[in-house]
């Protein structure tokens, strides 16, 4: 049975843990709001961009002259998996879920005889995948110094990927990130970005026949690389919101658990204190009776 002193120490330590998790939860809540706003601000751009691309891709996509980014290299032998995770832990199953999805995909592809290459964004995913897939790593993007994800970050990543694509290092690229549904739900998602697939031909609603300046092909060639940046940017933002949401609910749970633990320990502490007092009384009384 732990002594009174031990119990007291434990209660103190759980109390300070609770303070920390509570603070982290509140910080995550504030950051979540910002991350959600950022994601919302980027939505009009992404939506319009995709609508225009869908229209363009539909009209040019079928032909042989379509850019490689849209048509693909005609093979799917070498697959690049871009795994986007957070730089920090303590956010529940967020990183684990993304890594798990990526690992599954990698194993499936390997079983089908494909070559897998992995580019990690964010430290946690690299750490999680290092054990089984370290040989397939081709690069890592460090965002730990970045306070606020900007479009420039996405452009840098996209540039890296496009350089590799131009050099013929891979045929198909897929990004892995967590789609933000709400604070308690984040869906790990895999999205193929090269060759690009702009489906959802809802662009038809405008039905206007556009004049293109310069030509359709030139615009498409100009916009496809931007499309890669745009998709990476929106994935980064979704990820940012998901991370904070996951952290918020994880820290909320931790705070609640700490509270329960404090209650339990306090009861135990009071009981043993009562036992000690009773014990002392018995000793005094029996001492007095013995006289």
């Amino acid at each position: 049975m732990p002594s009174l002193k031990d119990l007291k120490n434990r209660i103190e330590s759980v109390k300070s843990t609770r303070k920390i998790t509570k603070a982290m939860q509140m910080v995550a809540a504030a950051k979540l709001r910002r991350a959600q706003e950022a994601a919302e601000d980027s939505r009009p751009y992404t939506k319009r961009f995709n609508a225009v691309m869908a229209g363009l891709a539909a009209s040019v996509g079928g032909s042989d002259s379509a850019p490689k980014l849209l048509r693909g290299t005609g093979s799917d032998q070498v697959q690049l998996l871009i795994v986007m995770t957070s730089e920090r832990g303590l956010c529940g199953g967020f990183n684990a879920n993304i890594s798990k999805l990526a690992r599954q995909k990698a194993q499936e592809l390997k079983a089908a005889g494909k070559t897998v290459k992995i580019l990690t964004v964010g430290k946690k995913g690299r750490d999680a995948l290092r054990r089984d897939l370290a040989d397939d790593f081709v690069g890592h993007v460090d965002l730990s110094e970045v306070k606020r994800i900007g479009y420039a970050n996405a452009q840098d990543i996209a540039k890296d990927i496009l350089t590799r694509f131009d050099a013929g290092e891979f045929d198909v690229a897929t990004i892995f990130f967590a789609e933000f549904v709400n604070v308690v739900t984040q869906n790990p998602t895999a999205l193929q970005i090269i060759p690009a697939s702009y489906e959802g031909g809802e662009a038809e609603e405008t039905s206007a026949v556009y004049d293109y300046e310069p030509s359709e092909e030139a615009i498409l060639a100009d916009l496809l690389p931007r499309g890669v940046s745009t998709q990476i940017f929106s994935a980064l933002l979704e990820n940012g919101a998901s991370e904070q949401g996951a952290r918020m609910s994880a820290m909320d749970n931790a705070t609640r658990n700490a509270g329960e633990m404090i209650d339990k320990l306090t009861i135990e502490f009071n009981r043993s204190r009562q036992a000690v007092i009773t014990n002392e009384l018995i000793e005094i009384i029996s001492g007095a009776e013995a006289l």
Binding site: D41, D211, E213, I219
Partner: protein, 137 residues
């Protein structure tokens, strides 16, 4: 005939403007053009330059780099990779842009890429510098 149209200026990071306008001057890849209501539906890519927006509240200007504009009879959306309102534009901003363009030109030259890529980078650099002159910074 409607004399105004819906104008939206969005960058990946935020939406900068959404209002009814009379006319917008766009720095198109093949030359400036002014879009007014009932313009024929057009999609054009942008070169770095100044976007001039004329609305009933007066004229406002934005510096845009890269992206494209989608024009239809009653709406105009400009999707710019970077868009900065003219009054927030400073020498430092411009220097940054010029520096980026210069780096791109240099790497294109050093990497001995096809002629047209080098030329394109050179054009970008020239555009940026012209932008500076235009703003008399």
């Amino acid at each position: 005939m409607a004399d105004t149209m819906q104008f939206d200026l969005v960058s990946p990071e935020r939406s900068l403007a959404s209002l009814q306008v009379n006319a917008v001057q766009i720095p198109g890849a093949e030359g400036d053009m002014t879009a007014m209501p009932m313009h024929a539906p057009t999609i054009t890519t942008l070169r770095p330059g100044v976007l001039r927006v004329e609305s009933s509240q007066g004229t406002s200007e934005y510096v845009v780099t890269g992206g494209f504009a989608e024009i239809s009879a009653e709406a105009l959306s400009v999707l710019a990779e970077k868009a900065i309102p003219m009054d927030e534009m400073t020498r430092a901003h411009l220097d940054e842009l010029i520096e980026d363009a210069r780096n791109m030109y240099k790497t294109a030259q050093d990497a001995e890429q096809p002629h047209d890529i080098v030329e394109e980078a050179a054009k970008l650099l020239a555009d940026m510098e012209a932008l500076g002159t235009h703003m008399s910074l």
